[in-house]
């Protein structure tokens, strides 16, 4: 499916949130949620974005959608810089993009019916109204597996999985080219999750959509994505078109991948356990942001910020020693039982 034509180019994107305090709301510092991120999203592909909570995945998605203003950098959508577009043009431009949020209960207004919720984008943009609107909404609902008698119901009458379908229908309403999926299945159960993931794949084929798939669940990301980007503390540490579980080259991605509990007892205990937790993005560590938790860290890592380097085959890794390290997480499959728990 993947063609090499870029739909979105993100260049040196930064998003800092101000921290204010004191009587005069003085600026006390910045949360560096997204810090100098560069990547492309190709037409028709799914780019998976993974990382732990607070690493800037969601902020990255929302900044690309121009839902929150960026601090610096460029977002180029089909050759146009998104932040240059203003006023009525922006509304027109936004038809190209849709978003599905994490919690379907919170992103649907409990007081309006499904027909109105899904129809709102069509109405606001003056595309249809009245009976024609109803028919268009019905068509959308049928695409996501809901039926006519759901039209006039309220969100509370639906299960979590159905609500997520409604959100997907709403995101599809304006025929967008690009959809940000922000943790679409993290609040659903496994059996329903499979239904939602299959639906999203089918829709992508049908409408030739491009997805940015944000999730903390690595197995789901792997299932959905053509390429995977791993974020840590506001930076992309690794990006690979291959299988992140097989050929992770950054020590963080390798540790993250090994920490995922796999439903297979024969693979038990392969986790390489990282010490400590993610540091605060207000005062991120100097140099490589992963160095305080990295078991390979050397002096250079504390001083110099590693750039994303092409390691061949389109795999980009931001590590000074990428390719030289014996990450060894695969060999640890059997040896890890001796690993001590550190804190």
């Amino acid at each position: 499916m993947t063609s090499s034509e870029e739909l979105i180019q993100v260049r040196n994107l930064k998003k800092y949130f101000q921290l204010t305090g004191g009587v005069f709301r003085k600026v006390m510092g910045y949360v560096r949620a997204v810090d100098d991120v560069t990547f492309d999203i190709y037409r028709g592909e799914t780019l998976g974005l993974v990382g732990e909570s607070g690493c800037g995945k969601t902020t990255c998605g929302r900044t690309i959608m121009h839902l929150i203003p960026k601090t610096a950098g460029e977002i180029i959508f089909e050759g146009k810089d998104v932040s240059e577009i203003k006023g009525g043009d922006l509304r027109e431009f936004r038809k190209n993009m849709g978003i599905v949020f994490q919690d379907p209960m919170a992103s649907l207004d409990p007081r309006i019916t499904i027909k109105n919720a899904v129809g709102e984008p069509l109405l606001v943009n003056g595309i249809a109204k009245g009976f024609r609107l109803r028919n268009m909404v019905l068509e959308l609902l049928q695409k996501v597996g809901l039926s006519e008698d759901h039209l006039n119901r309220f969100p509370h009458e639906f299960s979590g999985g159905q609500r997520q379908r409604i959100c997907i229908a709403r995101a599809l309403a304006l025929n967008p080219k690009f959809i940000v999926m922000d943790e679409p299945t993290s609040s659903t159960d496994v059996s329903v999750q499979a239904q939602t993931l299959n639906l999203m794949k089918d829709l992508q084929k049908e409408f030739n959509l491009t997805y940015l798939f944000i999730s903390h669940n690595l197995s789901v990301v792997k299932h959905m994505s053509d390429r995977v980007a791993v974020m840590y503390l506001g930076k992309i540490v690794e990006m690979t078109p291959g299988d992140i579980f097989e050929d992770a080259m950054h020590p963080y991605s390798a540790a993250l991948v090994s920490a995922v509990p796999v439903p297979d007892p024969s693979l038990r205990g392969r986790a390489h356990i990282l010490a400590g937790e993610v540091p605060s993005p207000i005062n991120p560590p100097s140099g490589c942001r992963f160095h305080p938790r990295c078991r390979f860290a050397k002096e250079r890592c504390m001083e110099e910020i590693p750039e994303l380097r092409d390691m061949g085959g389109g795999q980009l890794v931001a590590c000074h020693f990428a390719g030289e390290l014996d990450l060894g997480y695969k060999e640890e499959l059997d040896a890890s039982s001796t690993l001590a728990v550190e804190a």
Binding site: K201, K222, L256, P261, E277
Partner: protein
């Protein structure tokens, strides 16, 4: 054995003394039924739940939202709040009394006072969300010390502490005038060690604090001495979860129930906590019940598994068996619905439909409306619980897996 125990179900409380359990069975839950009386109707949250926990085992109770996992845990500790009520069943807990004999207690027949001595002391629980559970207005150390002071006899600790302090004084200042007085005092305390006098509240507090630090060190809390003076908001999620585990372990419980204890944590921190639980299990000789929706966690940490669906244990076996040969259609469906990291498929197999509303649970087998193998009998009759292979129990009319094609 089952028949013998069953025949005593109807008789009175004293019969618990006559029930025999295998010496390595720690907990036996039988026929547990819990309902919730809501305005919309009676929610049949648990229906005839049955499983056992062996000494040294890690048992997983796994299932989707609303299948009754947490209600099971709360029923074991009799923490089901109104409008919920435990209707029937037995929860037999095999404890060791002071003489070192095994005694069997039916937790559902115990008085509230007896339960209070068991909760947190013999059976402890760690709840799901570390952000809401430690009380935000008390220091971590005080909260853990409270549990210890409440349940543990600290008189010996107090005495040992006094002796240590006096000996310390002797060592640092061997030429003091009152050396003789101190040595006689030490002798006196040492003679009391076997039947220590009741300590004062202040001494008790001090001893509890000392044990708190020990417990926090046990869960690998960095700088435990400082942590006891911190408030919960000063700790990160993983540290808070460690503190909660420390609180649960502070009285050396025989059973630790972890109710979605790692769900709110990131994978790297989750891996730390799961590893910790497994290490502690061997160190403290406790047994663990892990309640989770994540089959990955089950495969990673547990020895036995009870799969629950809509308030019923549909499959109960050991972990390797469950993953290599799932027999109940729900279990195999669930396993196929998870995206695998070892292979890439275009489409995931899905279980159609959604979890039923337990006010009006489906008749017969509760899974039949979503089951691809369902026949008429499934809608009419609840399948009996049977041991289809050694130590592999299921409730199903049409077992799959290696049992496929078996004539019934």
């Amino acid at each position: 054995m089952n028949d013998m125990v069953a025949s005593q179900d109807d008789t009175s409380i004293e019969t618990t003394n006559d029930i025999r359990l295998d010496s390595d069975t720690l907990l036996l839950v039988r026929g547990l039924k819990t309902n919730f009386y809501t305005y919309e109707g009676v929610v049949k949250a648990l229906d005839n739940v049955q499983f056992e926990l062996k000494r040294g085992d890690t048992l997983a109770i796994v299932g989707e939202t609303g299948c009754g996992k947490s209600v099971t845990a709360k029923s074991i500790l009799r923490l089901v709040d109104s409008p919920g009520r435990i209707e029937e069943g037995q929860i037999l807990f095999q404890d060791v009394n002071e003489e070192g004999e095994n005694v069997i207690i039916d937790l559902l027949q115990s008085t509230e006072d007896e339960m209070r001595k068991i909760r947190g002391n013999k059976i402890a629980i760690v709840f799901q969300d570390p952000a809401t559970y430690p009380n935000p207005v008390f220091r971590i150390g005080d909260q853990i010390a409270e549990v210890i002071a409440l349940h543990q006899d600290l008189s010996r600790d107090v005495l040992e502490m006094k002796i240590a302090r006096l000996e310390d004084a002797l060592r640092t200042n061997p030429d003091a005038e009152n050396v003789e007085e101190i040595t006689t005092r030490i002798e006196e305390y040492k003679s009391q060690l076997d039947s220590p006098p009741p300590p004062t509240d202040k001494e008790k507090k001090e001893a509890a604090k000392k044990r708190t630090v020990e417990t926090l060190k046990l869960v690998r809390m960095p700088s435990a001495e400082q942590t006891i003076n911190q408030y919960p908001h000063e700790l990160s999620g993983g540290m808070r979860q460690r503190a909660l585990i420390a609180m649960a372990l502070s009285c050396n419980p025989r059973i630790l129930i972890a109710d979605e204890a790692t769900t709110a944590l990131d994978v790297t921190v989750q891996a730390q906590v799961l590893k910790l639980l497994n290490v502690l299990k061997t160190e403290l000789d406790a047994s663990i019940i892990i309640i989770t929706h994540d089959l990955g966690v089950v495969a990673e940490t547990c020895t036995r598994v009870a799969v629950m669906y809509a308030g019923v244990v549909v499959e109960y076996t050991n972990t390797d068996e469950l993953f290599s040969d799932p027999i109940h259609p729900y279990t195999s469906g669930l396993l196929r619905a998870i995206p695998k990291i070892t292979e890439k498929v275009e489409h995931l197999l899905q279980i159609t439909g959604t979890v039923p509303n337990l006010i009006h649970p489906p008749s017969g087998c509760r899974f039949h409306p979503r089951c691809e193998f369902a026949t008429e009998i499934c809608a009419q009759q609840r399948p009996p619980r049977e041991e289809i292979k050694p130590a592999h129990w299921i409730e199903c009319h049409h077992p799959q897996g290696s049992m496929k094609g078996r004539k019934r």
